[in-house]
């Protein structure tokens, strides 16, 4: 029984069957990649997992509890954090403040009115945020506005913010899309480090096969809203169905 169990999920947008009978099981403390050509339904599936979309039928269980019908912030509080394709960070806030917010969210829950005490006096939170930035090599930038950082550092910060919440499942949506090779490799190294140091399950959606084969322990191939195959990276590499799904896309393009 995996930490994340997706059963018979269907989602239709008008005439388009975005997801049809998706079954997926992500085992605890593994890195599970979901790959597939454009329009395969990867993003739709991700949006179902985080509560942004409600599927038409099916069930999604996280650690034995259903996530369906819960709001995104409630699902996050259950222990699922999401990294976006374009880094979603608090651009107007400093890097340190960015890092403090998830720590507050972890400590205080979805809402707490602490309007009089000063942020400076929350020494434990500040310390934890500083340590986290140190481990991400972002400590030097801590008083900069996060919007001024490079794409690669924004990505590091976003991943760090998710980790600061100590999630049990980390979802990554094409974390290296649009990145230079060097930044991509940095991100791969960071994710490897996270996988080695923490008890965490990682589900990653990715186009870049270099990233996928560097990280994944299991791979699910999605095409036209249905999982084609699920296997280890070695088996997936030479699988005829996978080649077909990808080559078919290339031929059509």
């Amino acid at each position: 029984m995996g930490i994340l169990e997706v059963k018979n999920v269907n989602k239709r947008f008008g005439g388009l069957q975005a997801l049809s009978d998706v079954n997926l099981s992500v085992a605890e403390n593994t890195v599970h990649a979901i790959i597939g050509p454009n329009g395969a339904g990867k993003s739709t599936l991700l949006n179902v997992l985080v509560g942004k979309l409600l599927p038409d039928t099916g069930s999604v269980m996280f650690d034995g509890q259903s996530v369906l019908g819960r709001k995104p912030y409630e699902i996050n509080q259950m222990g699922i954090s999401r990294v976006f394709q374009t880094p979603e960070i608090f651009g107007d806030l400093t890097v340190l403040e960015n890092m403090m917010i998830p720590i507050f969210a972890k400590r205080d829950g979805a809402f707490r009115m602490h309007a009089i005490e000063s942020v400076r006096n929350e020494r434990a939170v500040v310390q934890q945020a500083e340590d986290m930035l140190e481990s991400l090599n972002l400590a030097d930038a801590r008083h900069d506005h996060s919007a001024s950082m490079s794409r690669g550092n924004k990505r590091r910060l976003e991943i760090g913010m998710c980790l600061a919440q100590e999630p049990r499942l980390l979802l990554l949506d094409e974390p290296t899309a649009g990145m230079a090779r060097a930044d991509t490799n940095n991100t791969i190294d960071l994710l490897k480090q996270i996988k080695d140091e923490r008890d965490i399950t990682i589900a990653i959606i990715e186009h870049d096969m270099h990233v996928v084969f560097s990280l994944a322990e299991r791979i699910t191939v999605l095409a036209q809203g249905t999982p084609l195959v699920e296997d280890t990276p070695d088996k997936i590499k030479g699988h005829p169905k996978v080649r077909e799904a990808y080559l078919g896309e290339t031929a059509a393009a």
């Binding site: 985080v50 709001k71 995104p72 912030y73 409630e74 996050n76 509080q77 954090s81 999401r82 976006f84 979603e88 960070i89 608090f90 651009g91 107007d92 806030l93 403040e97 403090m100 917010i101 998830p102 507050f104 969210a105 972890k106 205080d108 829950g109 979805a110 809402f111 707490r112 009115m113 602490h114 309007a115 009089i116 005490e117 000063s118 942020v119 400076r120 006096n121 929350e122 976003e158 913010m161 919440q165």
Partner: protein, 397 residues
């Protein structure tokens, strides 16, 4: 000091000193000089500086921090005023219960309006708040006349119950007071050609302004304030960080509604009357202008913006063609008339035109408002004084 950083404490100290010395600072010109009309140190205007400063500080907690643009904040000011005057009519002409009621009633009203309006964001939120404010105005003007006095509004009357106050002596009027201290009482001081007025009402309003400013600094620097800025910066990340943005925004809305109520209560405490025009949409728009003009999201900006707009409203609007002729009498006749024709549309009743131009210039060239202007000047001065190192300035002021 007081739980503030050195920088914030200095800012608070400056505001306090300026507020206390305002009767001097705002009256720089001798009473009989030609410039006396630019003096703003008379009680009525100084009270308005303080009251609208409070209103704008509160509005900034919502708009400056969360980015939610309310176009109906005058409704809370008006509701606060009505609550205040009813307390003064029914209970006592002492201003304390009146102001307390203003804050509480405006806060409750803000809770209802905010709960509904915050279901939408952006332009739809602005329209919802505007609709609420215009409904309040229309209700106060017509249907609710028994409570609001309709078009004529409410004043303190001789036959008000005022159950806590003793009977008035024949011919005596009820005065708004703080434990006997009459709001309208003033001490005048003559100093050479200058005259300074120290008014009780102003000093009470100024004291409340300093307290309101202090509270706003604490809110800005708190984790709550940080969450509000997070809403403005990236609502998506907020949600996917496990935070429920709605109650945070609602709390900010209610707090700023209570500030508006406080301002409304103080208004009643000063002039003991209220009318529905206080809730008209132009009044809501004015506080938006004040906040943006001074610098939304900055601590001191809204106070500066409120001061500038109230100054222009009261001083520039008093300049008439007679005064213009006095100014330009030294010019040749034809030129004098020409210059006056040019300037006239911008003064007197045309002061809105001047305000509009100032507002446009600020928004285009100083998007951060007057505060940004000040920062640029300071950087310029620093750059000239010492060009050796590029010092970093902290934008949060």
């Amino acid at each position: 000091m007081l739980g503030l950083t050195r920088k914030d404490a200095i800012l608070l100290a400056i505001v306090t000193v300026v507020a206390l010395l305002a009767p001097f600072i705002l009256n720089p010109f001798p009473t009989n000089s030609g410039f006396a009309q630019f003096n703003a140190g008379y009680p009525d205007l100084m009270q308005r500086f303080a009251i609208f400063g409070i209103f704008a500080i509160g509005f900034n907690i919502l708009f400056g921090l969360t980015g939610y643009l309310s176009f109906g904040h005058a409704a809370f000011l008006g509701v606060g005023s009505y609550a205040g005057i009813w307390m003064m009519k029914l209970l006592t002409a002492n201003i304390i219960p009146g102001i307390a009621a203003s804050i509480v009633v405006a806060g409750l009203f803000a809770l209802i309006v905010g709960f509904i309006s915050l279901r939408r964001s952006g332009i739809y939120f602005a329209i919802l708040t505007l609709a609420f404010a215009q409904m309040s105005y229309a209700l106060a003007y017509s249907v609710l006349t028994p409570i609001t006095g309709g078009e004529t509004g409410l004043q303190l009357k001789l036959n008000d119950p005022r159950v806590l106050d003793g009977a008035l002596a024949p011919g005596e009027r009820a005065h708004a007071n703080l434990f006997g201290l009459d709001m309208t009482s003033s001490i005048e001081m003559h100093f050479g050609a200058w005259q300074f007025t120290f008014n009780t009402g102003y000093y009470i309003a100024a004291l409340v302004l300093v307290l309101a400013f202090y509270l706003s600094i604490r809110i800005f620097r708190s984790p709550f304030g940080m969450m509000l800025r997070a809403i403005k910066s990236n609502n998506t990340r907020m949600t996917y960080t496990g935070l429920n943005a709605r109650p945070y925004a609602l709390a900010a809305f209610v707090i700023s509604g209570m500030y508006a109520g406080l301002a409304g209560g103080l208004m009643v405490a000063m002039d003991t009357q209220v009318g529905p025009e206080r809730m008209f949409w132009t009044a809501s728009g004015e506080v938006v202008l004040m906040t943006i003009l001074g610098g939304a999201g900055t601590l001191i900006g809204p106070v500066l913006g409120a001061g500038l707009i109230k100054y222009m409203e009261n001083i520039i609007s008093k300049i008439n063609s007679g005064i213009l002729h006095e100014w330009f009498y030294w010019m040749p006749d034809g030129l004098e008339d020409f210059v006056i024709t040019l300037v006239y549309p911008f003064v007197g009743k045309g002061w809105h035109l001047t305000l509009g131009i100032v507002f446009m210039l600020v928004v285009i060239f100083l998007p951060g408002g007057l505060v940004e202007g000040g920062q640029r000047l300071r950087r310029l001065a620093q750059g000239k004084r010492a060009k050796k190192s590029a010092t970093q300035t902290n934008p949060a002021e």
